[in-house]
């Protein structure tokens, strides 16, 4: 799961080195926490959250295949 987020995010931010992603398992499924440079936050969220929503949608495709749930939190 992490790799998918990592690929997308690192491709669209100005500072790929400052991208930090962690995974946490909970009874609610997988929780992915994404941290980026402050100037890049707008890029990963997008206007009206459009980019974040698109990343979440693609994550859901993968989660559905693996029969799990996944949440993405942008810190």
């Amino acid at each position: 799961m992490k790799e998918l987020v990592e690929y997308i995010v690192k491709s669209i931010v100005a500072e790929p080195d400052k991208v930090n992603i962690t995974e946490e398992n909970s009874d609610m499924g997988l929780l992915i926490k994404l941290e980026v440079a402050p100037e890049d936050k707008g890029r990963v969220i997008g206007r009206q959250g459009r980019v974040a929503e698109a990343i979440r949608t693609l994550l859901r495709v993968k989660a559905a295949r693996a029969d799990t749930r996944v949440r993405l939190e942008i810190l």
Binding site: S11, I12, V51, A54, I55, T57, L58, R60, V61, K62
Partner: protein, 208 residues
């Protein structure tokens, strides 16, 4: 982007050759004339120009877009074969494979998200926002055909019953298909109402 050297009899001919090879107009590349070229029956000398594209070339866009899409599919563990149709604007990629409904999503929402992410990444790599369309097993093409037919059928109904009709909520690209299908219709006009996910097209009788 790489430079290209072209020789021809005249600068004009060399420029035409550059347009042909790059597939873009002369306003979209930078031209440096290295040698003017002299005319003469016996001692004519060819012209030499050096051109540098100012916009991404179609082959580069297709290559980058295919690579990005392939990576994304791999990471999502979806198997599909990507085909690019050449010479179309916007550049169109079609993913073919079994069981790709999951990638289309409800009302094509997942496909729209996939296309958006690919466009974002490609735009970042090539430093230009480019028209790029992604389809899955011809889903959009079929949808466009059936929406056009639906639009014409409903327009007839509106005309006969002399009453406005509202379609189900649709994403922007699908609403656009309806608007365009009826843009030149003699009897009806179209509008969109509602906000966000609920936005839908209304077909009204044209007031004479």
């Amino acid at each position: 982007m790489e430079e290209l050297e072209i020789t021809a009899k005249t600068v004009e001919q060399a420029t035409e050759e550059a347009e042909k090879r790059l597939g873009i107009g002369r306003d979209q590349f930078e031209t440096v004339v290295v040698k003017e070229g002299k005319s003469g029956i016996f001692r004519g000398e060819g012209a030499l120009i050096r051109v540098k594209p100012l916009v991404p070339l179609e082959k580069d866009i297709v290559r980058v877009a295919m690579e990005v899409l392939e990576n994304l599919l791999g990471l999502m563990e979806v198997t599909g074969a990507i085909k690019a149709s050449s010479g179309e604007i916007p550049i169109a990629l079609d993913i073919e494979g079994d069981d790709l409904g999951i990638l289309i999503g409800r009302r094509g929402q997942t496909l729209a998200c996939l296309q958006y992410i690919v466009r974002l990444i490609v735009a970042g790599r090539l430093e230009a926002w480019l028209p790029l369309s992604i389809d899955i097993c011809g889903y959009k093409k079929h949808r466009r055909d059936s929406l056009q037919k639906l639009a014409l059928r409903l327009a007839e109904q509106v005309k006969l019953r002399r009453r406005a009709m509202t379609l189900e909520p649709m994403p922007p690209d699908e609403r656009r298909i309806i608007h365009l299908a009826l843009a030149n219709h003699p009897d009806v006009v179209t509008h969109s109402v509602g906000e966000g996910e609920d936005r839908k097209v209304v077909i009204l009788l044209k007031r004479g």
